[in-house]
């Protein structure tokens, strides 16, 4: 199968993730969309690694996974803290500061 198709899929996943970040209200869902974007990057890295015939892409994908895991730890702790104090995980409610 032509590897370029995987690049199209990766770009599509990245776009879905970015649109989700901009459109969804729930902080958890927004965060999941960011994770989708990171995984789209992973797919692109692996595909390019295959196209260039070197291992860099696959190794970078491992680094990205570790970074994504760290981001989950930090992100969920912040979202849980804000949910405890507001009883809501909606990003629209976090609007004490404007302009």
């Amino acid at each position: 199968m032509n590897p370029v198709n995987y690049l199209y899929l990766s770009a599509l996943l990245f776009t879905i993730g970015a649109a989700g970040v901009l459109l969804r209200r729930n902080a958890i869902v927004v965060f999941m969309c960011v994770e989708l974007m990171l995984n789209a990057c992973n797919l692109a890295f692996v595909t390019f690694g295959r196209m260039h015939d070197n291992l860099d892409g696959q190794i970078i994908a491992f680094f990205t996974m570790v970074v994504a895991a760290c981001e989950v730890v930090v992100g969920l702790s912040i979202i849980i803290a804000i949910f405890r104090s507001r009883r809501s995980a909606s990003v629209d409610d976090a609007s004490l500061m404007k302009w």
């Binding site: 927004v30 990171l38 990057c41 196209m51 860099d56 190794i59 970078i60 992100g75 976090a94 500061m97």
Partner: protein, 528 residues
């Protein structure tokens, strides 16, 4: 998968890397300090932690600074430096200069973080128990018991590790990892304020979601550049892009998306919207640290990315960056006029300054690099000092950040108001302060580099910005103090030392900028 491809993949072996530990010693020392900080949290009894954390952090950063001086003396005569860690990290003039700056800012920030004499009930600027919900009984109990947490020290040190790596990263994977190491602890630190905890948590949420969003863009850009050149090394991307005559989509998309990630970190328009909220909500010592150090690290990385990886593409990226710089300067200066909160005012001022620093970076010559690095030193210490002064002006509800509370401060406390006025004059770029020397240097470099339009806009925006800085000075010195106004708390020697360092750098770089300019000139060459 075809069998031929399997065979090629099978014979591609991953060689064990060789690491020159001596050349990485500044970064490794700070990383070690961060790990020791975690162990102190785990094994020392609570009363002993504060002194241990503070001592370990300060001694470690001073040792790392010593290591940088040692490495800088070992640089060859042409000041080119070398690439270590299998091509991942560059030890050259710009990275050593910026790392030294970052460590000095880090030392002053840890002094601010360690301040414990400002809260009337005791404790520092951080929540007694960050996990307790604001307003809950659990939180009241923790505050009544006089709890203090010392987890901020290892978090700040981890963040500093990322900042030291960021301007030195010579491949995009290392740059991405450094970006995350510097960002993730900062997201947490933003949410730890003792007062106004809802604002603080909101700042952490906004910073985290937008920061993660922008780093995803950065990573996709890295993937595109890897796809274009077959490598994430800046040098190889530079070689591959040097001969790019046609508009290759992968290269252009990669360039744009990596630039988005970097511009977000420096807070340039249109990626600036997080800056005022995060600066306002975060605990003020952290705001100072973040405002000063993140800019130094991110501009270092941005310069290396554009100067080493994409010099051949400058006709493509320079017009865009000129537009970004103009928008940043104008938006920062104009919106700051309407602000009524000191921390937000300083945040918009930092956006305007990001535009001024971009002016130097866009010059695309050696003077551009050295003037940008000089500006970063000048700006970093002024910002840190200004936020340190903000921590001192307090009323019953904590820091009195509303501008109306600052009316007549010059009559109550001439010294503190005078120091703040000095910092504001330096922000405005008045002669005999470091701000003037920095602005003069970047505008001169931009004019020589053929970006005259930027210089005109920059000077006009400096004039607009001077208006709101001077307005605060007039408010402090020429209006009557309110009866229920805030008081200026006398800090311990630590905050005093941090402010004194800010004042000293501001005055010395204003009156005698030449030694530091010479040093920046010598350190202005990126290793290829």
């Amino acid at each position: 998968m075809s069998t031929a491809a399997t065979a090629t993949l099978a014979v591609t072996k991953v060689d064990a890397p060789t690491i020159e530990y001596g050349k990485l010693s500044p970064i490794l020392i700070v990383a070690g300090v961060a790990v020791v900080g975690v162990l102190i949290e785990a094994f020392l009894p609570r009363p002993a932690r504060y002194r241990a954390q503070l001592t370990v952090a300060l001694v470690g950063m001073i040792a790392a600074f010593g290591a940088i001086v040692w490495l800088a003396r070992d640089l060859p005569d042409d000041h080119r430096g070398s690439i270590t860690a299998m091509g991942a990290i560059a030890v050259d003039g710009p990275s050593l200069f910026l790392q030294g700056t970052l460590l000095l800012i880090g030392i002053a920030s840890v002094l601010l973080i360690g301040e414990r004499r400002l809260e009337p009930a005791g404790g520092d600027a951080f929540a007694p128990q960050a996990a307790a919900a604001p307003g809950s009984q659990q939180e009241k109990d923790a505050a009544a018991a006089g709890w203090t947490q010392t987890e901020v020290y290892p978090l700040a040190m981890f963040s500093l590790v990322g900042m030291l790596l960021f301007p030195a990263a010579n491949d995009l994977l290392m740059m991405f990892v450094a970006l995350e190491i510097l960002s993730l602890p900062l997201y947490l630190l933003c949410g730890l304020a003792r007062r106004n905890r809802l604002l603080s948590q909101e700042a952490a949420l906004k910073y985290f979601l937008l920061g993660a969003f922008s780093s995803a863009f950065f990573l996709f850009g890295v993937a595109m550049l890897y796809g274009y050149s077959g490598s994430v090394s800046l040098d190889k991307i530079g070689v591959a892009s040097a001969g790019a005559m046609d508009n290759d989509a992968l290269l252009l998309i990669g360039l744009a998306m990596v630039a988005v990630g970097l511009l977000f970190k420096v807070g340039a328009v249109p990626f600036h919207s997080w800056t005022p909220d995060v600066y306002q909500g975060a605990p003020t010592p952290i705001t100072g640290f973040m405002a000063a150090a993140t800019k130094v690290a991110a501009f270092g990385a941005m310069m290396r990315f554009f100067y080493v990886a994409l010099p051949g593409m400058r006709w493509d990226w320079r017009p865009v960056m000129i537009g970004v710089a103009i928008a940043t300067m104008v938006a920062g200066a104009v919106i700051a006029i309407t602000q009524t909160d000191v921390k937000r005012l300083l945040a918009y001022s930092s956006i305007a300054h990001a535009g001024f620093i971009l002016t130097g970076m866009i010059a695309m010559n050696d003077a551009g690099v050295s003037s940008t690095m000089f500006y970063l030193v000048a700006y970093g210490f002024v910002t840190l000092g200004a936020f340190a002064v903000v921590t001192l002006v307090r009323d019953a509800r904590g820091e009195a950040t509303h501008l109306s509370h600052w009316a007549g401060l010059g009559r109550r406390s001439p010294l503190v108001a005078g120091v703040f006025a000095l910092f504001l004059l330096a922000f405005a770029g008045i002669p005999l302060t470091s701000g003037f020397a920095g602005k003069f240097a970047v505008f001169q470099a931009a004019a020589r580099g053929g970006a005259g339009s930027l210089v005109v806009v920059g000077v006009l925006c400096s004039a607009i910005a001077a208006f709101f800085y001077v307005r605060v000075i007039v408010l402090m010195f020429f209006s009557e103090p309110k009866a229920d106004g805030p008081t200026v708390v006398v800090p311990s020697v630590m905050t005093t030392a941090a402010i004194a360092l800010g004042v000293a750098v501001t005055v010395v770089l204003g009156i005698l900028p030449q030694p530091v300019l010479d040093l920046a000139d010598k350190a202005a060459l990126f290793v290829h």
